[in-house]
């Protein structure tokens, strides 16, 4: 019966590792300038974690195969080196791994969070509310008008609570339901939550950041490939959470400018 356990465990282990080894399930294409650092970190961790997973499971299977249901009176033996060997192995192997990945990983994290956006980054505001994203461009004056929560009127398309009657800056603000951006230009996205917590996740951008009500958060990224990608909410926000998504349109610079001009004319 112990041998049967060993066989089952080996099968389970190899079957678990197979889709990873054959790259059956991998991240969608990376379209950001920082994403490769995250992907490399993930790949390194997968290699080391995979080795630990397969190694430990096979060792377990081997020992159970060899040392189960032996003849009565079989004398038990002890591992040469004993607990000292175990503790030393754990400290050296895992300690090195922890330090290496810990330190390397900080570089990828720093790329995203510790480098401020460039001065010429394009500022766009994103508002998340149950259950839609809206995006606001500052318009010709380059300024975002202040928000007035009491002025929000979704029925009349005032999603952000702008007050163009009193705020001059609000008159040229452009509001859209999709995030349209130029390729190869840094975007500085300002996050604003209207009601409860939400999150901004674009798999291809390797970006995920919560919207926290009452907290002004921002993130910055540069998309390097044109195309249409999904933005999904990843913070449980209520009954329509599963359906809260928007699209990210990455356009060539000139197409983006044209789009912006057309939108400005419409509003």
């Amino acid at each position: 019966m112990g041998k049967f356990f060993a066989v089952i465990l080996v099968v389970v282990t190899l079957a678990s590792a197979y889709p990873i080894v054959t790259h059956k399930y991998v991240q969608p294409v990376d379209i950001s300038t920082h994403g490769h650092a995250i992907d490399e970190q993930l790949a390194d961790t997968m290699a080391e974690g995979g080795f630990a997973f397969v190694g430990a499971q096979l060792l377990l299977a081997f020992f159970v195969w060899k040392f189960s249901s032996r003849k009565d009176g079989s004398k038990v033996k002890h591992l040469p080196g004993g607990a000292k060997l175990v503790v030393a192995t754990a400290f050296i192997l895992v300690g090195t791994e922890v330090l290496a990945l810990g330190v390397l990983g900080q570089k990828a994290w720093a790329d995203v969070y510790f480098t401020p956006p460039k001065a010429d980054a394009l500022q766009i505001q994103s508002q998340a509310g149950q259950f839609a994203f809206y995006f606001r461009y500052p318009g010709a004056d380059g300024k975002f008008a202040p928000l007035h929560p009491d002025k929000i009127d979704e029925g009349n398309g005032n999603y952000f609570g702008l007050d163009p009657a009193n705020d001059v800056e609000a008159r040229d603000d452009i509001v859209a339901a999709e995030l349209t951006i130029p390729v190869n230009r840094e975007i500085h996205l300002l996050l604003h939550a209207k009601d409860v917590g939400h999150s901004f996740y674009v798999r291809e951008l390797r970006i995920q950041q919560d919207f926290v009500p009452g907290l002004d958060l921002s993130l910055h990224f540069t998309a390097t490939k044109t195309g249409k990608y999904e933005i999904v909410c990843t913070q449980l926000c209520g009954l329509g959470h599963y359906n809260m998504k928007a699209y990210l349109n990455v356009l060539p610079q000139e197409d983006f400018e044209k789009w912006l001009k057309d939108r400005a004319a419409e509003q």
Binding site: M1, G2, F5, V12, S16, Y25, V26, Q27, P28, A37, I38, G49, A52, F53, A56, Q57, L60, F63, F67, S68, S69, V76, K77, H78, L79, A83, V86, V87, A90, V94, G95, V98, G102, G105, Q106, A108, W109, V112, Y113, Q130, L147, I152, D195, V196, G197, S199, Y201, R206, I207, D210, V212, P213, G214, L215, E230, Q235, L236, G238, L239, Y242
Partner: protein, 590 residues
């Protein structure tokens, strides 16, 4: 500690009458069984909820007959609505984490065996003990009540993130009285756990028999002791957090709600609160809670493995120190749940290092088990199979934790099925394997009868392979970017992944169905099982020195005296290859 050996003649009088014997019992053994029973009811409810969720994910339009009776609005005509899916998700998580993973391995087995393993007649405070169970029971009733009120259960998940959980019914169904009941239930639950933890600590420190030094306590007693220390601190934070949440909801305060929120077109009358405060308080409890679930299982599995291997561990001391360091480190890592929450990105680095460091004691524990298996004489039975399965799950769940501990990778994997796979394996399934191993092992002591081993093995094979079939694919889905907590997958992106979800759902049904084998075995063996001897597994710790089931005062009128470390196996004793802890005989060889 000499005075610890002097015990009062009897902690309480022998129970008389049905109520005192079986309902409001002061006997730690009855209370342990009550906790276990409550966990058993909860785990089957939780499992059925997970079935409904898995069913809805892959066959969203298909009716579940009879469900409309439970909730006419949540499942009109038997078809689950997206909001009801979230209700099921919230209740599944809450029941499993609180009422199963905390109740069974810690409060259930701990109550039954901790006093016996240290040679005590009962817990230090039997009345507190009774109160702690009945408080927990009330918490359970209050929580389940949410299914039967018009508002329905909350939809904010077991983590109840504010302000979704705090602003009230404007935010969605279930967030009115449903959420109130949730917060009240968890607050009551905390009180029960605080009473229980205090009792465990006092009992361990004060009621040990003569000769039972701390290092002579069995590993599972150590695990329960460390867990109770964690529980005392963790639940002491969750309790006020729940009270603040209730105040926000009912008294108009704004601990977790900032100004200017417009929910369902209504400007909320709150100002000055912080949603991140709830997350900090919740995870300050929430991460140690993972160890509250897993450490008792580590202890139980070590105890079962040693007995099944017929040799001591390479070093019980190293294993105990590793558990202690995990317990200590568990207080410094809560922020790893919040890497992308908007807290200062520098603190992510601070939270990442202790999280990665926890891998070291966890690896030591695993290698101690593996190294101890070398040269052993492993007896294969239902209990040892589940213990070996636990080791496998502990490795699988631990490895994936290594990914999520790194903030940079977490940017991509956060809130995906990778996380769901990770915590189900290490906290859910591994802990449940610990509970099952303990059940097959100690059933004989608790009832006086043996469980059916063939049925137990069949249960193991299906459960072991089944859980891998369910939770391994979750990791693959997460790697591709499949987001969790979605009631249905409407993204274009999800279409090619649906076959994987179907496979998982089928695996969940099969694996779940196998749990009824266990239930049948449990009930059948309770009444018809083979009669058990005092020491069927040739164990060495004190629970095997008394009759099965033990008398109301555990040791009769004896006061056990301890002569040995807990695991004297592979030695020449008068009874075989082992010497019991309370046996005065000298140990020859080793």
């Amino acid at each position: 500690m000499e005075e610890a050996a002097v015990q009062p003649t009897h902690v309480h009088a022998p129970p008389e009458g049905f109520l005192r014997k079986y309902v409001f019992s002061l006997d730690h053994k009855v209370i342990g069984k009550q906790y276990y029973g409550l966990a058993l009811v909860s785990v089957f409810i939780g499992m059925v909820l997970s079935w409904l969720m898995r069913f809805h994910l892959v066959w969203p339009e298909v009716k579940v007959h009879g469900l409309e009776v439970l909730s006419a609005s949540g499942a009109p005509g038997g078809v689950i609505t997206p909001e009801y899916y979230l209700s099921l998700l919230t209740m599944h998580g809450t029941l499993m984490v609180f009422f199963v993973l905390t109740n069974a391995p810690f409060a259930g087995f701990g109550n039954y065996f901790l006093p016996i393993q240290i040679g005590a007649e009962d817990m230090a405070f039997p009345r507190f003990n009774m109160m702690s169970f009945w408080t927990t029971f009330v918490a359970f009733v209050v929580l389940v009540l949410a299914f039967f009120i018009p508002d329905g259960p909350p939809i904010s998940g077991w983590t109840a993130y504010a302000p979704l959980s705090a602003v009230g019914k404007d935010a969605g169904p279930g967030l009115g009285w449903g959420q109130n009941l949730w917060a009240i239930s968890i607050a009551i639950f905390c009180i029960g756990q605080l009473l229980g933890s205090l009792n465990f600590i006092a009992t361990t420190l004060d009621l040990r028999a003569k000769g039972m030094t701390l290092m002579r306590m069995p590993i599972c007693t150590w695990a329960w002791f460390i867990t109770s220390c964690i529980g005392l601190l963790a639940f002491a934070v969750l309790l006020p957090a729940c009270l603040l949440l209730l105040l926000d909801r009912m008294a108009g305060t704004s601990f977790f709600i900032p100004s200017g929120l417009v929910v369902s077109d209504r400007l909320q009358n709150h100002a000055g609160g912080s949603p991140l405060l709830w997350q900090h308080l919740f995870w300050f409890f929430g991460h140690p809670e993972v160890y509250i679930a897993i450490l008792p299982a580590v202890g139980i599995v070590s105890h079962v493995l040693i007995t099944s291997m017929r040799k001591p561990l390479l070093s019980a001391k190293v294993l105990i120190y590793s558990m202690l360091s995990i317990g200590f480190l568990s207080w410094m890592v809560w922020g790893h749940h919040m890497f992308v929450s908007g807290m200062n990105p520098f603190s992510s680095l601070l939270f990442s290092f202790p999280t990665l460091t926890i891998t070291i004691p966890a690896t030591i524990i695993t290698l101690i088990w593996l190294g101890s298996l070398y040269g052993a004489n492993i007896q294969i039975n239902s209990a040892s199979l589940f213990a070996l399965g636990f080791v496998s799950m502990f490795v699988s769940g631990g490895v994936s934790g290594f990914f999520l501990a790194q903030p940079s990778i977490d940017i991509y994997l956060h809130a995906t099925y990778f996380v769901v796979g990770h915590f189900h394996m290490v906290m859910g399934v591994a802990a449940i394997f610990g509970i099952l191993s303990g059940t097959y092992f100690w059933f004989s002591k608790m009832t006086g009868r043996m469980m059916n081993d063939s049925l137990g093995k069949l249960h193991f094979w299906i459960t072991f392979v089944g859980t891998y079939c369910i939770f391994m694919p979750f990791h693959y889905l997460g790697l591709v970017g499949n987001v969790r907590r979605y009631a249905s997958f409407v993204d274009d992106f999800m279409a090619p992944l649906m076959p994987v979800h179907k496979f998982v759902t089928i695996a969940a049904f099969v694996t779940g169905a196998a749990q009824f084998l266990f239930l049948y075995n449990l009930i059948y063996s309770r009444f018809r099982g083979q009669l058990a001897s005092e020491n069927p597994w040739h164990g060495t710790s004190l629970e095997w020195s008394i009759p099965s089931p033990p008398p109301w005062n555990n040791f009769g009128d004896k006061h056990p005296v301890i002569f040995h470390d807990p695991y004297q196996y592979g030695v020449k004793g008068s009874k075989g290859d082992f010497v019991m802890q309370d046996s005065p005989e000298q140990i020859v060889g080793g």
